[in-house]
Structures are given as C-alpha cells and as structure tokens.
Symmetry: C2
Subunit: 69 residues, 2 copies
DNA sequence: CTCAAATGTAAAGCTTGCTTGACTTTAATT
DNA sequence: AATTAAAGTCAAGCAAGCTTTACATTTGAG
C-alpha cells in the first residue's frame, strides 16, 4: 500500500510528532505508516482523511500489479 | 463504524459466503464486519470498495457524536 | 411442519497494528 | 566541529483483525 502522507504532511509543515498528536497515536506509528511498514487501521485512515480533507483513496493507493504488457 | 455491507450485498443477492469468497476471507469475518463486531483492515476495506465499486467512505461511516441540541 | 441453506455465535490461536522506552542517524544551524 | 530537532529503528508487550472448527438459530421453500 502506497501513501502520500509525507507529501501531505510536508505541505502543512508538520513534523511526524505534530501529526501523531493530531491523530492521537504515537510518533512511531506515524513513522511506520509513512515508511510503509504497515497499514493503518480503518479508523486511523478515516482520521487521516478528515485531517487532510481528502478521500481515503487519494491518500492511500493499493499497489496494483503492473499489466505485463 | 457503521457500514452498508448488508445492503450492498443484498442488492447483488450474494450470501455472506459468496462475499467471503470474493474477498478471500472467512465467512465469519464477513459476518462480524457486517454486524459491526469489528472494523476491517484497510486492505480489506479497499477490496470491498473495488468489489462494490464505491468509495470507502460511502461504504463505511464513522458514527460521529450527535450534536447535543 | 420439515429440511436445507443462510446466518449467528464462541473459543483458541496466529498475525498485524499500535504503545512505550530507549537508542541511533540525519540534517540544518551556528 | 558542536548542538539540537527531526526522523529512523528496535524490542517487548498489549489490542484488534482474522482463521478454523464447531455448534445453534433463523429463514424460506416445498
């Protein structure tokens, strides 16, 4: 699962710790999700969507298999 | 978290087992999510969104606190 | 009413998401 | 070069999502 967190966070000039506070999760959780170590829970994805005022699908994209041409 | 799974599934006349097959999860998982026992993982929410060709936000809604009037 | 399919429920166990605490690395500033 | 904030990483532990097996209840067709 790819995501645009780093980009969205940078636009707002928030640190990972800032974002963690707003989401009410730990800084390590934000870091792990940003780095793609794991996917957020659905409730956390909703919080991110609200915070960034964007649909979940615009923040997270399933990496789909490349068509083999 | 509320969801419209039962409704969407009924529209297509699929059983919980049918849906479980398409999602590649167990029937009990479909049942539990439909009944609101727990939220799906984000990847599973994406599978549902693709299957029902609907945004995640249109399938799942965070139940927000009622304004106290 | 009967029978079968569908739905609901429960327990035990594995995997994944998230926490805290601690430490290291990177990048920017002086 | 030294300092500091931010980012990255690791380990141990708890919580949530999902599995399998098994059984009970509900629904609907005949």
């Amino acid at each position: 699962m790819n995501n645009r967190l780093k980009e969205l966070r940078a636009q707002r000039r928030w640190t990972q710790a800032d974002l963690a506070d707003k989401l009410e999760v730990s800084r390590q959780t934000v870091n792990a999700i940003e780095k793609g170590k794991y996917d957020p829970s659905l409730p956390l994805a909703f919080k991110l969507a609200r915070l960034f005022d964007s649909p979940i699908e615009s923040i997270f994209q399933e990496e789909t298999l490349e068509p083999s041409r």
